[in-house]
Symmetry: C2
Subunit: 649 residues, 2 copies
């Protein structure tokens, strides 16, 4: 199928969408009050802001670490989160703080446009010498994203100009021309940032450079081999052993599998989708879809988590989805949401948004504590004392439980969480000339225009705790457009009314489309049936065989020890057990929980050694009421075991 | 309970026991014809024998690696295996080959008695400077064990004298005296070897040195800290982070848990048991039993495997027994057998031999291929394409299956397998002045003496495939002694006859004891009921919850893909299924297999995405006949999945 790229929908920017309540409004408020300040505090206390100040007396640690080499990205992501927040919730104090940091960044820029706190000052001789590992381009990408968002939020050009100069510098150094290096980012991210910069500035050089990076990637002779040899290193000594790690093992257009480091992969795929859309390159569209299909059909957790392995922070092989050791980095789920959002705009189909929603309500939200100031890097689907996804080691003694941390040595996840939560409104709607796509449901009001006529749409709902969504239309004059309401993949029956009149509509590509001349006060009522579902895993996922997960709406549930006692592996849910959803107003500000009859299949006593003939063990199958809470809220109470996949009886 | 160490039974050395058929005779024949020559070939081709030759033109690789630092142990273990083999099966060619190598070892010894191919020549300045990591004492131990065995087998003193001189050298350097270092082996092994040397030579200095090593271990200030600082290193930089790794985190007499590297642990515990026995140190007896109980009650696989983790090749925490990533090193199961054998002689109880038998018939035997020339290092209990216990990495491409290898960079396991198989006869019997303990069953004839009168005992049996064991007694004159037949822990009913007369005997401490004045031609018939058992895991072993294992007699079974198709995780054995053992004469020279009805619980089709509502998935529970083979024989046919723990329905 050839995609009509030219008529593809455009996302509605977050400034058009005001959250007026519900889960996302609450998470955004926490983000503003706790998360963004907590991250600023960490940027300051860990020396990341001093790095911009370049005070020779306040230099960053002297020993070399690639971690220090991507400090700039933390500032970039924080700035981006601040920008989104300012755009919807002006805050002069916060803006002043951001302006101060921007001023530091501006001063740190070199006359030739180069901008990097490590290589700009401590190792100028090593600029652009190791694209594979040293993250200069990754930092550039995050700073560009921050700059574009800040400019859009405030109209202040300083940071946009600074980063445009840096992009110009990169454009002059890299490319197919004489004297240029044929390199590309070791950690993709700049690709999608350059497309944002192109869209904001209209300067096609940025789009072309992004396309160059994508097309040059993985070509032979491999650039990472070349630059390794130029440093006097043997390319075979690359620690990760394979360029699959950074998706540079073969040209992009020949790639068929999601490989390597999961965040690199999804940032890259997002960039590919952006370039495909902007250049209307049908082959790249196909590449995007092929990689997406592999990613989501073979390598994704039910929580929207990606990357089972700690060793490469990424993918291993199809259906390899261990739960206890799942890495499932918060950034990877966020990058999956980025990717999904872009895929929709290439190929307007609700299946992409289904995955985006799965990631958002589960692995993304679990990335921060309910209080907003502690963060998960890895998001396992089972947690057991003494086990954590980073290592499996006899020396674990300090804390038996895997818990969220206030910060990480490599803290990519906290500011990533802050920026996606601050910008969540931007994921709600897309438009074409005559259609309004509604992707996500949450109380909000949003403004659009069709044919030059303004429309306001208001959503009233308790989604995701309830499947009823009521829309009201505000329009000074009647407006003709198609309202395309997403019928989520998890939803197996729904009803739709306009002004009380049932609409027997069959969804097309995941959307129920109501074409109408809308008048002020029109009301639409969408009722998505939202029963508790037992979810079965694909039969190739060996880790989940014999188990089910509980899901209601987009929310995946888990058992925690605090509610269900220890040894969660011994709990089974009989197939005939009635499962009940109820709203617990006292739990985390009000969430739906799931309860039901379960059995704890355990011996009443154990006769001695570790292994016993089954016939001598007296198993009692004690019935009890289990209580499951949303996965994303685990590890916010008393520490203990956690489990998503539960034995079926 | 105070152990009467002085009256404890003594093992009957292997030269008294002639295997006359059955499984162990077949494995020994393969060991002689294939394994011992294969290992010699590797010693030669990898440079290990050249290392003894110390030809400056044929030096070992120049770059430093701790692996090269324990090359000597490989020669030591090969020599020990050869010695046992020569003792029961003289072979002039093999003896000549061994004598040649002994001559190289002799020439490599320094005038002061020091003996080590790496530090003796390449780094003489670093002798004894890093006991923690550099394996000089470990090498010494294995060479001593080889020397003692060779002397016993051949009566030739050369190698025993060489190693006695080396032991004297060590004794002069280490101890509590002035000018001595207060060190002890980083990798325990020398402790048990010194007790062997003491027993062979009668020189109490060797026993005292072993006791010193044990008592000094883990004392403060920690010797490994001291020697680190002497090398100019910060002890905190120890790669393993904790001295739990080498069981030196606290004094031995204060230790209560099996910790760290599993092989180090069990070699150490075996040495402790030896010293406890020889010194009649009741406290050390208690320490041995405490550590044994922790080891076998909390940290042992059903196969007798030890050590779930690759990261430390060892223990993590109680009940942490993952199957797919189980390290369960072959050497660890062998060291468990060593330990068990010694524990019995400290505390004559069949429960230790039960564990020894579990290890021998499962994790030990699985260490080598049926053909005897390929070896497992790690012995997982589940195997799945692309997964191996060493790593979990996206780069796996060369061989999708975990298989035995002809050799390893660190090849401790192959010669360890060779020496335990060659010496298996030495694990069959123990005696006191008036009792003959029979531990293991396999066709053999063995010679003993009680009160100066010779007795020959002959076993006729197809154990482990059949539970019937017939004994006949040969004695020129009647002999009074107690025949103590082990009633294995796995056996829940048995019958015993003497000359056709039933003997209603209740076993005491795991042995059925027949006190009698035995006459020539007396016949004993022991019938151990050997049904197929479904085995239940301890309820704290989360990985095995809802699963059973199949065991018959001492043999643990597994499913392989070649017999049962792929996706073994989806196979369940209904609780009402009749399980049948049958003898398959064509499989690996004849072994018992288990068959029965199972179901393959899989959807007949899968509607699309990875996760589906259970209600829309049509599960078919297709019945089929499963076939299970002995675990130790897995990975000898077509590569594919393997599984020990099977879902119960």
């Amino acid at each position: 199928m050839v995609i009509e790229v030219s008529s593809s929908p455009k996302p509605v920017y977050l400034d058009h969408v005001e959250l007026t309540g519900g889960l996302w409004q609450e998470r955004q408020a926490t983000n503003r009050s706790r998360t963004i300040p907590a991250i600023h505090h960490q940027l300051e206390t860990t020396g990341r802001l001093d790095a911009w100040r370049m005070d020779p007396n306040r230099e960053r640690p002297k020993h070399r670490s690639v971690i220090y080499m991507f400090w700039d990205s933390d500032t970039g992501k924080w700035l981006e989160a601040v920008a989104y927040s300012l755009h919807t919730h002006p805050d002069p104090e916060l803006e002043k703080q951001a302006d101060g940091i921007i001023s530091l960044i501006e001063k740190a820029q070199k006359p030739d446009g180069y901008l990097n706190t490590w290589f700009g000052n401590l190792e100028p001789e090593n600029r652009w010498r190791n694209l594979r590992d040293w993250h200069e381009m990754y930092n550039a990408g995050h700073l560009i994203e921050g700059a574009v968002a800040y400019y859009k939020a405030t109209g202040k050009r300083t940071i946009l100009d600074v980063l445009s100069r840096f992009a110009d510098h990169i454009d002059s150094r890299f490319g197919p021309g004489d004297g240029q290096k044929r390199g590309y980012p070791g950690h993709p991210e700049l690709e999608l940032a350059l497309v944002k910069l192109y869209r904001e500035t209209g300067d096609a050089r940025y789009l072309n450079l992004s396309k160059y990076f994508i097309d040059e990637r993985g070509q032979e002779p491999n650039y990472f081999d070349i630059e390794s040899r130029e440093r006097g290193e043997d390319p075979a000594d690359f620690w990760a052993q394979t360029y699959r790690y950074c998706q540079a093992h073969k040209p992009i257009r020949e790639q068929t599998e999601a490989t390597g480091h999961a965040v690199r992969a999804c940032y890259l795929y997002a960039g590919i989708a952006d370039v495909a859309l902007e250049t209307q390159d049908q082959e790249l569209v196909e590449v995007s879809r092929r990689l997406w299909d592999d990613l989501t059909s073979h390598q994704m957790y039910i929580t929207g988590g990606l990357g089972p392995a700690h060793s490469n922070e990424g993918f291993t092989f199809a259906y390899d989805l261990p739960n206890e050791t799942a890495y499932a980095e918060t950034c990877a789920a966020i990058s999956l949401a980025f990717c999904a959002h872009r895929m929709f705009h290439l190929d307007p189909n609700g299946r992409y948004i289904d995955v985006m929603e799965r990631a958002l309500y589960n692995n993304v939200l679990s990335g921060a504590s309910y209080e907003g100031d502690h963060f998960f890097y890895a998001n396992p689907l089972t947690s057991y004392p003494n086990v954590n996804p980073y290592e499996h080691w006899s020396g674990i003694t300090s804390d038996r439980h895997y818990r969220r941390q206030a910060w990480y040595f490599c803290p990519c996840c906290p500011p990533n969480w802050a920026r996606i939560v601050a910008s969540i409104g931007g994921y709600f709607y897309s438009t074409t000339a005559d259609r309004l796509y509604v992707h996500l449901y949450n109380r909000n009001q949003a403004d659009f225009a069709f044919g030059g006529k303004a429309v306001r749409l208001e959503q009233q709902t308790d989604y995701p705790w309830d499947g009823t969504v009521q829309f009201s239309v505000g329009a000074e004059t009647p407006v003709e457009f198609e309202l395309a309401l997403r019928i989520p993949g998890w939803c197996r029956s729904f009803t739709l009314e306009v002004n009380g009149v049932p609409q027997p509509i069959t969804p097309v590509n995941g959307y129920a489309v109501i074409a109408r001349r809308w008048e002020n006060g029109d009301r639409v009522k969408l009722v998505l049936d939202m029963p508790v579902e037992r979810v079965a895993p694909h039969p190739e996922i060996r880790e989940d065989a014999g188990h089910i997960a509980l899901q209601r709406g987009p929310v995946v549930y888990c058992l925690e020890e605090v509610d269900n006692g220890p040894r969660l592996a011994n709990i089974a849910i009989p197939s005939e057990s009635q499962l009940q959803a109820s709203f617990d107003a006292d739990l985390f500000g009000g969430v739906s929980i799931i309860t039901g009859d379960a059995v704890r299949a355990e011996p009443s006593s154990w006769p001695g050694e570790l292994y016993q003939p089954l016939s001598v063990v007296q198993y009692s199958r004690s019935p009890f009421r289990f209580k499951a809470i949303p996965y994303y809220l685990w590890a916010n109470r008393e520490p203990g075991e956690m489990r998503v996949w539960i034995r079926e009886w």
